[in-house]
Structures are given as structure tokens and as C-alpha cells.
Amino acid sequence: MNVVEMIGITKRFPGIVANDNINLAIKKGEIHALLGENGAGKSTLMNVLFGLYQPEEGEIRINEKKVMITGPTMANELGIGMVHQHFMLVQPFTVTENIILGDERSKGGILDIKQAEKEIQKLSDQYGLKVDPSAKISDISVGMQQRVEILKTLYRGAETLIFDEPTAVLTPQEIDELISIMKNLVKEGKTIIFITHKLKEIMRTCDRVTVIRRGKVIDTVDVAGNDENTLASLMVGRKVSFSIDKEDAETGETILDIQNLVMEKGNGVKVINGLNMEVKAGEIVGLAGVDGNGQSELIEAITGLQSIKSGHIKLNKQDIANQRPRKITESGVGHIPEDRQKRGLVLDFTVSENMVLQTYYQPPFTKGMSIQFNEIDQFAKRLIEEYDVRTPSIDTPIRALSGGNQQKAIIAREVDREPTLLIAAQPTRGLDVGAIEFIHRKLVEQRDNGKAVLLVSLELDEILKLSDRIAVIYEGVIVGWVDPQNATEEELGLLMAGSALEKEAN
């Protein structure tokens, strides 16, 4: 029986068709993956199912009955729950308070917290979630918070659960636990729709997968009998290679040398707490860690975007700590920022104008006071050709380009300046397999040209594949160095969760 059926769904936004005549049938009791690149239309489709968007055409059937879903409340009533990628929890509230929020059941006007707590405990035991209903959200881990989100949907009587990119914020161990929870849910009769672009997780978890590309359903296939390569080519529309050829690193002098770095937030909390690390010429150092352990602050300190409290940041033996960003850029640092749209690009500028964001004031781009657009255009033309940036023209606002092409433009700009240190933060986040391939090759090329590369990524695959050495960051310090040749994801995962420190403490 199909618990959810979407027939001929079309959803348009000005200028694009996000969902084009999509058909999707979810069987009762299965884990059904929705696979597609960023911008393929997965989230739009699920927002239609959850009642956040109204489709222009098509119909939705729940338990084989035609319905009109006008909003999330109605979706809840029909037994559809959504576990959002970004949690919607009130930090100082307890688990129970968060779960009943918006669905408070009272006795004669008085909130019956005890009863709710009992029910939540029961649900948690039934599905093996191991959540403490009386704990405060601010005291529990990210993985635990996600389970609270799952409980929220169950408490509201969800039969079909939508998981939107649930593994993005988790450590490898937490991912394992999440997958077993998902399997438990299905065993107890629930149905799961799993939105993701990670092939490995689909192979491990799902029964069937529907592949969406550019708003259209390409195919729905059984996971059994298919492999990652087939799914990847379905998703991208062509063959892709997963491995990367690289020689052993030939390292030279130390380029980046960080000693006893301490950084504080405004409230005096130390976000970087005595960090030491170095990156040599000709190597890629991967910085692995769970999001929010000080990676962003470290990068902003090196690039001069945040000031440091104490310690040294040496580039080619010169201390660059607390220098202005322009000074640091000029002394040979290239930076592919983690938030490409907010930091890396002026979206309303043309492709051309974005190509000279750090160099516009230098000859030949500026003569005296006036800016030389002819020179800039020629330069931009060369870069978009060399780096295969697909754009209608160099005068197109860069906002109009796809994420992959925006990122290629940034990489072209940063690499072409020939920096001695290249910092690549989340260089492939949200990109399709083709763009990822290209960017990985470029990073290895930089290393082979004798540059020092610092790669910061939340994707362990990427870190393992590209790095010559891996540093693991946890709560603002490097807790261990790992050799990618011998490391397993499990080892890395334990370090990332801070277990090395706990061992020492014991």
C-alpha cells in the first residue's frame, strides 16, 4: 500500500520550474531516499508534501485518499512529520517542554507536564531513542537534540517521517546510531522519507531511492542490486570518478606555523584554546572536526577577519596575527571561504567584477583613480576559460550562476593569485559530484605546485581522500594528528567526539 503518493506535482517559482510533473510513491514501512544534487528540487517537493508550498498542478494522496495539504498543522493531522535539518528547539527549555510546544495538552487549563513526560518516555523506549525527557536542550548533544526533533513528530502522531539531510551535523558514530534508530522506526511500522545527497548512507539504510535531477524524476530504483556508481551517474547524468590520483607529498619548508593560539568570543568564552599546528609547503593538511569546534574562528584568525587574544600565527616566519585582511592577502594567503555567498562573492556584482575582489586596486586593474574595466574583463575571460566557469557572459551578475560555478569562480580567483598558503573551507559543500571532482583536482594541483594547503571540511570522505596529514580539532584545540593512509572513519570519529581527551582525563 502506498502511504504517500504524489502525482504530477508541478511547482514553479519566477524563472524556474522547481518540480516538473513529479511522481513519487512511498510504500508503507519502507525507507525511501530522495536523492539529488543541491537545487534539484528535493526540498521543494517535501515542502509541498508538508504543506509549506502549494503546487500549481498535481495531487497528493495519503493512504490512497486525495488530500489538499494547506499547512504544516494539516500535514501533522495527516500523519506526516518533518525532522528539519536545522533544529527548531528552545535551548533553555527541557526536552518535554520542547516536544509539547504548540501541542500542549492540559487538564482544566493546567499543563500536565508529568503526563506528557510519561508519554515521551514511553515513546523514547519504544523506538530506542534513549532520550531523557527532563534534560535541558542546552545540556544535550547535537545528536540527542535531533532525537528530540524525531520525538516531536512521533508525539504528534506521525506515521510518515521526512528526514531533511539529517546527517550533515552528526559525527560518524552519531550517524550509525541515527541509522539504527531509523531502522527501529520502520520495524515499529513507521515510514521514512530520507532526503540526502550522500550515496553511502542510502546504500546502508534505504529500500528504494527516487532520483531527482533539475526538478524531474529520473528514476525510482531498488537499492539492492545497485551500487554507488550507478546512483551517482543517475544523479548527475553522466559517469563520475570517486578516486583521485595523487603522488606522495614532497613537503618543503613550514609555511603556516600557529603557536598557542587563543581566541575569545565577546562573552569571554574561549573558542580557540591554545591551538598549535603547522602546514608545510607541498602538503594538504585536512582539519577534521564536528561543526562548531573552532574551525571557522581559526580560519578567520589566519585571514585577519577576527582578532586573536594571544599566541602567534606565522606565515613564512612573519607574524601575521591581528594584521589587516588586505596585508595578509598581499603576503600570500588565498582563502576559499566557507560561506561563499556571504563572504566570497558580491552576488550583485558581475562575474568580471568578482574576479578582482582583492586585486581591483592594483595595476593593471586600476590606473590612478580610475578602474580599467577592459583589463578586468580580459582577465576574467581568461579565468573563466581556464577554470571552466559556466556563465552566459562575464557581465552576468554572479548571483545568476549555479553554486558549483560560483565556487569555481572563487577558486579561479584565489588560485590564480598564486598564494603560498591556500585555505579551502568547505570547498565542495552543497556541490554536485562533477564540480566536486574538479575542485579536488585543483586542490591537489596546488599542492603539487608546492603550495601549502589547509583543507577544512565536515565531509570525512573529502578529508581522507585529499589530505596528506589530518589534524582533528575538538573544542578549540588539536586533539590528534592522523595519517590518512591508515586511519579509519571510526578512529577519526572518536577523536572528533573528544574521546582522546576524556581518556587522558581518566
Binding site: T303, P325, L357, M369
Partner: protein, 357 residues
């Protein structure tokens, strides 16, 4: 289709403006009908009397002149992401300083005018510097500071006029028999109207704004900071420096507007109980003109025509001038609410549905 969409987007500023103007005039027409006037006759009188006689054309241009400059002032600040609501105050100090230079320094005639214009611009820049500096250094919102600076300008000006320039009277003596920026040849071409050289200052201002924004290193930085301060910081630009510079350039346009008014039109200063409104009209001009140099010319021209023609409409069609203020206000509301995008959007949607169905 793609290229059509791109083209529509490119001109969407102009489309918005034109649709808003038409809608604004419809609102005015409805008001006139409700009050028992004939809108066709009224609008006819308005445009004919504003444009078709050399004298009226000259007077219309005189009305347009300060609007162009205050429009530019608001527009360039907007470009850097700042809302300079202090154009009014910068206009007043520009007027004041230009008058002081022209009357108190005893410079030779031609040099005196040139110095007065320049000093008026500088005074406006200084008045813009204060909110710019406080925004950059202390994070104080420029709107709050520049509103306060407006009051300081108004009452400082009144105080100096009363105690010094007018020696206790309500208004100062005239700078000269005829305002120094007024030249007889120009006046005669336009039927003896009060048109003056200020229009050339305004047009030069338009060119300067265009060149500055799109052809210089500084303009590149100002636009980058306006669009995305975080990326500008990443690129090594000083966001603070650009905020201060933008407010100063903006203030100097406003100061020039003040200088050109006192040196070209009135020729004297008087104690004002309230703001002139020319600075605030600049906000409307910039908004309607889409913050582009050319757009500012068109928008200022429209408001100039409405303001001047509206006065004549009162005589010829017997329609009260207040209707024109309503038309202007309605136009601004339509631009601000971006009504036209909705209309164009609905039109496109219907076409799309038809194609599919």
C-alpha cells in the same frame, strides 16, 4: 525566453517607476473625480503649463535643479547601504555656509561665487561626516544621528541668521541685486524666468556620481560595501572608511543643492519654522529613480513638473494643489510597495498557465 526575462529584469527599475507613476496619477484622478473636478482637464493644464512656454520651462528646470542634487545625495548613500535621511540638514548648512562666504568674505565677484559653492558642498560633507563617523566607529544607526543633525542644522541656521546675518530681523538682506548664479543670457532664453547656473552644477553632479560609482576604484569599493559588507571585509576593504566617505559624498551633494538654491534662486536666507522639504523630496527622487544617476534625472524632472505645474493647475483648472502632493505620495507608495512587480508577475503567470493548459 531566457533573454527576454533577462531584459525585463534589466529594465525592471524603469518598469516599476513607470507603472507606479501611472498608478499614482490614477489615484489622483479618482480623488479629483470624487471631489467633482475634471482630471483630464487638470492633468492637461498641469503638463501644458509646466512645459510649453519658455518661461514655464525655465521655472520648471529651476524647480528640478535642487531635486536632482538631493536625489543624488540620497542615492549614493543608498548605494553603500546607508539611508541618509539627513539630506535636509546638509542642504541647510550648505545654504548657510554658501551665504556666509558670499556675503562676509568680501571676495571678488566670480571667485566669490565659486568659493561659496565649494564651501557649501564642503559644509554638507562635514554634516554627513558626523553620522558616518558615528556609524563606523560606534555602530550608531545613521538614521537616528542624521535626523538629529537635521534639527541642529535648522536651529543653528536660524540662530545665526537672527543674531548675526539678519541682525535681529527675520530675513537677511540679499547677497546682491540679482542672485549671483543667475545669468541674464540664460534667463532671457527662458522668457525671463529664474533659471540659473545651478542646473549645470546638478548635471555635473550626475556625471560625477556616474563616473565615481562605475569608473573609479573608490566607486567599486562603495558599491561592494553597499551590496555585501562581509565580502568587502574579506576582500580587504575598509568598510568603516567607505561608510564615512559615502556619507561625506552624499552630504556634499546635499550641500551643493543648498548652495545652488541660495546663490541661484532666493539670494537671501530667512528664519524657517520648519524644514524646506527639498531634502526629504530627495528620498522620493532617489527611490523613484532606482538610485541610478540617470534615474535621478528623470525622477527629479517628474517631481519638478508636478510641483511647478501643480501650482498652475490650481489657477487654470481650479484644482487644489494638495491633489498633486497626493499624487506624489501615491507614486512613492507604489514604488515602495513594488506593486508593478506583482502586476508583471501575475501577467507572466497567466501566460505560463495558458501555455500549459
Amino acid at each position: 525566453m531566457q533573454s527576454l526575462l533577462a531584459r525585463l529584469n534589466k529594465y525592471s527599475g524603469a518598469t516599476t517607476a513607470i507603472i507606479s507613476i501611472l498608478l499614482g496619477m490614477v489615484v489622483g484622478a479618482i480623488m479629483m473625480l470624487a471631489a467633482g473636478y475634471n482630471p483630464v482637464a487638470a492633468y492637461n493644464a498641469l503638463f501644458v503649463s509646466a512645459l510649453f512656454q519658455p518661461y514655464d520651462l525655465g521655472e520648471t528646470i529651476r524647480t528640478i535643479t535642487p531635486l536632482i542634487l538631493t536625489g543624488l545625495a540620497v542615492a549614493i548613500a543608498f548605494r553603500t547601504g546607508l539611508f541618509n535621511i539627513g539630506v535636509e540638514g546638509q542642504f541647510i548648512v550648505g545654504q548657510l555656509v554658501a551665504f556666509i562666504v558670499a556675503t562676509q568674505l568680501g571676495l571678488p565677484p566670480v571667485i566669490q561665487v565659486i568659493v561659496a559653492v565649494i564651501m557649501g558642498g564642503l559644509a554638507g560633507a562635514l554634516w554627513g561626516l558626523v553620522p558616518g563617523f558615528l556609524k563606523a566607529s560606534r555602530g550608531v544607526h545613521e538614521v537616528i544621528v542624521s535626523i538629529m543633525m537635521n534639527f541642529i542644522a535648522l536651529y543653528l541656521s536660524n540662530y545665526l541668521i537672527r543674531t548675526w546675518l539678519a541682525k535681529g530681523a527675520d530675513s537677511t538682506p540679499k547677497i546682491a541685486d540679482s542672485p549671483p548664479l543667475k545669468v541674464d543670457v540664460l534667463s532671457q532664453i527662458f522668457g525671463g524666468s529664474r533659471i540659473h547656473l545651478g542646473i549645470f552644477i546638478a548635471l555635473l553632479g550626475v556625471f560625477v556620481m556616474y563616473y565615481l560609482l562605475y569608473r573609479t576604484k573608490l566607486g567599486y569599493e562603495l558599491r561592494a560595501v553597499g551590496y555585501n559588507p562581509r565580502a568587502s571585509e574579506y576582500a580587504g576593504m575598509s568598510v568603516k572608511r567607505n561608510i564615512i566617505l559615502s556619507m561625506m559624498i552624499s552630504g556634499s551633494f546635499a550641500g551643493l543643492a543648498g548652495a545652488s538654491e541660495v546663490l541661484g534662486t532666493s539670494g537671501y536666507l530667512s528664519i524657517e519654522a520648519a524644514f524646506t522639504g527639498i531634502g526629504f523630496d530627495g528620498i522620493a527622487v532617489a527611490l523613484l529613480g532606482g538610485n541610478t544617476p540617470l534615474g535621478v534625472i528623470f525622477a527629479a524632472s517628474l517631481f519638478g513638473v508636478l510641483n511647478y505645474g501643480g501650482g498652475n493647475m490650481q489657477f487654470e483648472a481650479d484644482v487644489p494643489f494638495e491633489v498633486i502632493r497626493v499624487v506624489v505620495a501615491a507614486i512613492i507608495l507604489f514604488v515602495a510597495a513594488n506593486i508593478s512587480t506583482k502586476i508583471v508577475g501575475r501577467f507572466r503567470k497567466q501566460k505560463g498557465v495558458k501555455k500549459h493548459g
